[in-house]
Symmetry: C2
Subunit: 231 residues, 2 copies
Amino acid sequence: MPQTPHVERHFTAGERVRDVVIGMSDGLTVPFALAAGLSGAVDSTGIIVTAGLAEIAAGSIAMGLGGYLAARSDAEHYASERLREEREVHEIPGVEAAEVAQVFRSYGLSDQESAAVVEALCRRPQAWVDFMMRFELGLEKPDPRRALTSALTIALAYVAGGFIPLAPYLLSATAGRALVASVAVTLAALLVFGYVKGRFTGARPVRSALQTALIGGLAAAAAFGIARAIS
Amino acid sequence: MPQTPHVERHFTAGERVRDVVIGMSDGLTVPFALAAGLSGAVDSTGIIVTAGLAEIAAGSIAMGLGGYLAARSDAEHYASERLREEREVHEIPGVEAAEVAQVFRSYGLSDQESAAVVEALCRRPQAWVDFMMRFELGLEKPDPRRALTSALTIALAYVAGGFIPLAPYLLSATAGRALVASVAVTLAALLVFGYVKGRFTGARPVRSALQTALIGGLAAAAAFGIARAIS
């Protein structure tokens, strides 16, 4: 499918970064908050480590496999919509040509002004289908290898993120002491991660750092409060 | 921003459904897997309920607030890219006109065939900017109210999903018995949820049901195995 090189670059880099951000955001935050929450209810780190590792396994599989199936179903959706457009271009070219004109009319162009482009597309059925996929339906052609790459990237980022808040509980026998270390280590990691994320995604890095730490802090505080209240 | 009504409808309905799917997928899966995992390590349901509720609090806040900030940053990214396009259309119209022609060249159209559309856009700076945002950069104008709606939808779907696997542990004192009930209730819920999700997203419903149950089952089995191995 022809695309402007500009869009192609933007799209590919963005997807990979987005997968790491998705996995690591939750990996840093949820096991951190769960361990902090349990520290409000139990004294032994053994049960917190068990719960934390179980959560990392569950979360990375749920997010990774979820990402894999989502990417696969995006690819199938694209393929089925493309078949439909190909059929329509072949069977009802008049209707489809009117839809091309309608795309330009929504930008204030008269049918006369868009006529040359509409006619040119009608002479090139493959390019016409490509045009309809992108400009009428707003669908980008998915990369066939993305489903697996996306799954592994999200899952590994989740595991990598999850071990940071859990490390202090692995090293200390007292939940209270491990909690203090976990809060310090994880808030530092969230600030660094948020800063780097901001640099990659074009957001203001310092604000991104503070927002990311805020999410983790609020989630952990809520989990801690709930666990303490019911235990 | 002018858009074809077709695209607009597709976009809005899809986003809301996507938010419910995101929240409920993880809400059904991760607390289910965590509770199953802890059932492999402890006998009392008290600690499992505490961990489960802490996880639901942490997960819903992390996903909801994460969704809120992601939607906000999408909106800011759109606004800043739009300002840049407006400046470029004003300051270097020749370069931008060549970029419009380049979009059509990537669909096999000659500069002569696209000339009328390029000229028409040059006479309408606002429509020109709209065109560049969508067709060169591939960016859709975000709905300003979406950030908050998205956050609440994801968080509530997560909480609603999370209480289903946890309910048996709230009602029974024995972890083993609660686990059996939780597996049965949650697999049934995952099958129904996967089926409905398939109907909404255009995937084959029965396959979607089986895939969704598979993710939950694998995540729970992995969490159970890990928790049993280390305890």
